[in-house]
Symmetry: C2
Subunit: 240 residues, 2 copies
Amino acid sequence: MDVARSELFETGTPVACASCQARHGVVCGALSSGQLRELNRHSLRRKIEAGCEIIAQGSESSFYSNIMRGVVKLCKVMQDGRQQIVGLQFAPDFVGRPFIRESSLSAEAATDAEICVFPRNLLDRMISETPELQRSLHDQALKELDAAREWMLTLGRRTAGEKVASLLYLIATHAEPQTATSTAFDLPLSRAEIADFLGMTIETVSRQMTRLRKSGVIRIENFRHIIVPDMDELERMISA
Amino acid sequence: MDVARSELFETGTPVACASCQARHGVVCGALSSGQLRELNRHSLRRKIEAGCEIIAQGSESSFYSNIMRGVVKLCKVMQDGRQQIVGLQFAPDFVGRPFIRESSLSAEAATDAEICVFPRNLLDRMISETPELQRSLHDQALKELDAAREWMLTLGRRTAGEKVASLLYLIATHAEPQTATSTAFDLPLSRAEIADFLGMTIETVSRQMTRLRKSGVIRIENFRHIIVPDMDELERMISA
DNA sequence: GGCATGCTTTGATCTAGATCAAACAGCGAT
DNA sequence: ATCGCTGTTTGATCTAGATCAAAGCATGCC
């Protein structure tokens, strides 16, 4: 499943990141059209299968990316194998750690995804030349920080039931289309990944899911597809 | 204990932030001397007692600050009273959430502290005019993000014993002076605060502390003062 | 001093969630 | 179809850590 770093960058479909020119992506929105042209000349758009590693924990990565489609999970693992998902990213998020080459976490496609890959050196130069871009990445970092801290509260102080409800709520909120109050979406994560996000075991995740199902808060079809008839009801399970 | 927001800004010792001119503080290091002079004219240095709230969760704050001395804890509380410390900040960290007025967390002095208080409007202007400052704050945000994610791993996947060891290691690392391998420091947090940082109860914190004491990894004097004879030993307890 | 007050430690018990162990899908390959 | 594989649910039991309850121990106040 893994894709070596160099491979990721060198074997991608060599197509300029056309749709970035719209206004997708944290990066592209902040660039002048001249910069965008230069960036496009040196960037690749690449399809990534679910499970593919984009950046490996502990590695030095020589590129950044923008998520164009799909969900990416950020993960930390301990050498004894315990692991914790520390962030979920959706289009049009930026992936990569500005200013530090060695990654303290791995980034992996949770679903099939498409990303735009930029060479690190070029983008670093553009960051330093473009306050607008710096601001844009600063914004994203702060957004991720807010999300991380919200999640710390969930990890430290919520019960198993509240944790699962929090996760479903998070996903439902980011999975776009939703009718008036009811919402349907595909879970981008397996039970095992959910467990790693919530700091618990898959058995407990499963039990809490069926508890939510039996109490009518959610409906489950095909393990992955979830329907929330009433989002307010789900929100009430979280005990914000 | 609380200090109203306006009070915090209006009743501080009206002394220009002289020592910032050295190079203390995330903010001051990034400014030109002209900007620094202007900032100083509108800023206050203020002594804060342990327990004083600097920013209240849910409030709109009209200022930022720089920690000059002491430790500040960032805290989130749920309406049923459960709470979680989501960050610890030390001099010369910056306190405040750029670009968003309403705070999703509270900032409170964990120890007696000294801060420099800046009006938000002025600093926001300077941020937009000074890429160097933007970069500096971006750096701090990324540093906090790394710390938050490291802590998510601790909250989600480490045992009680590992959690306490992680906390002691974190504090020991930030409390400055340390001889070759041995380290001594004052805990900036009470047992209850430690519990809120680690997502556990004070009883469990206490038990784990005495376990570490009995196994010789730490020595405890006066509840607050800790001696770590061998930092490597402590590090081994963490199981990174 | 003597006594209230707020931490902190220690002990006894309880329980939410982990662990161990099966069954139960869904699904692609033969 | 049947087999094998992987992911999920469900059940039975166990345990780390929570909860409940009582002492210690400093510190400040009268």
